[in-house]
Symmetry: C2
Subunit: 196 residues, 2 copies
């Protein structure tokens, strides 16, 4: 067990920050444990012993990102909740550090299976965090019974990620708003009712 | 000008195929012009003179992919046309060669601006190819006047790419069907009417 704020936690935070910097600068293939240790001002053997491999280090970075990510908004309105989520995605993908970091992790996941699994876990955590917004809307009768909450949450993020990948326009509030409206219209039409 | 089927065209095809193989195997940072020339059985100076840099080579590969990509289906029905597009995206992303190639190119685009621009041009070509399916639906009165055709086409692809990136489930016919239904429901609700 680690004491929050203790030495172990401080070492982890420093190493994961250095790993993120290296990943953004060099991509997965250019990340080196000894270099990360030097950047973090931490002993090399600590890094080798605790993480061992670069994919394990990146996986722990994603676990920390999931731990530290913001809790969902609970406004009592489906559209307001999903809008808060969409704006959070836009803010993350356009953030000076988080944006390049996500692009680097997505790139790393395309060629490294353990990183892909860690990234999938990250998204599973985020989807599970926001799913109750949709569950509440179903309970209130705003969406059809049997609507898959995870699919609605993913439908909000998908066009924002696709816009980033394909350069189809700015990632801004208007894009967030359109993503929410599209997801809600599809959900109301019963598109995300799980097949039984 | 190159004669189709002539020596120049054959050299280009061989070099771009070798470049794709190298990109899938090693990622952008591991692609080397001399290695590509050797794999393609083409003189090294030909590759240096004609493409010069790895990003230029990858950009030409994307241009070839856009040239060779399938023309749109014209079934006379919006849903059938969009379904054909969604199934084409699924077939591409799950194809033994095209799938890893797209993931490698998306990864390369995240760290190399010229590759990102070439990728954006590829998607612009594909969206322009399929936009008339939506324009016809607007003309037939199936969708609200002022609907942005490109946004509808992108709305079909977005959840399929997002599913691939986040590992949220299989890329199959059911996913394609849901992507079409969601895009059409949102389009009917007026979500993609361009702001004036």
């Amino acid at each position: 067990m680690t004491r929050p704020g203790g030495r172990t936690a401080r070492v982890r935070a420093a190493v994961l920050r250095a790993a993120g910097d290296a990943l953004v600068e060099h991509g997965l293939a250019g990340v080196d444990l000894a270099d990360v240790a030097r950047r973090a001002d931490v002993g090399r053997t600590t890094v080798y012993r605790r993480w061992g491999t670069v994919p394990a280090l990146v996986a722990d970075m994603l676990a920390e990102m999931a731990e530290d990510s913001l809790p969902r908004t609970d406004s009592g309105s489906l559209e307001a909740d999903l809008r808060a989520n969409a704006l959070l995605v836009v803010a993350t993908l356009t953030d000076e550090r988080q944006g390049p970091l996500f692009r680097a992790v997505l790139a790393a996941a395309s060629c490294e299976a353990a990183t892909a699994e860690a990234l999938h876990r990250f998204y599973a955590v985020r989807v599970a965090e926001w799913a109750p917004a949709v569950e509440s809307a179903v309970a209130r009768g705003e969406l059809p019974a049997g609507t898959d909450p995870a699919e609605v949450v993913r439908a909000v993020s998908a066009p924002l990620y696709y816009r980033m990948l394909t350069g189809a326009g700015p990632l801004d509030e208007a894009a967030a708003e359109r993503a929410v409206s599209a997801a809600v219209a599809a959900a109301r039409a019963g598109v995300f009712v799980a097949a039984s």
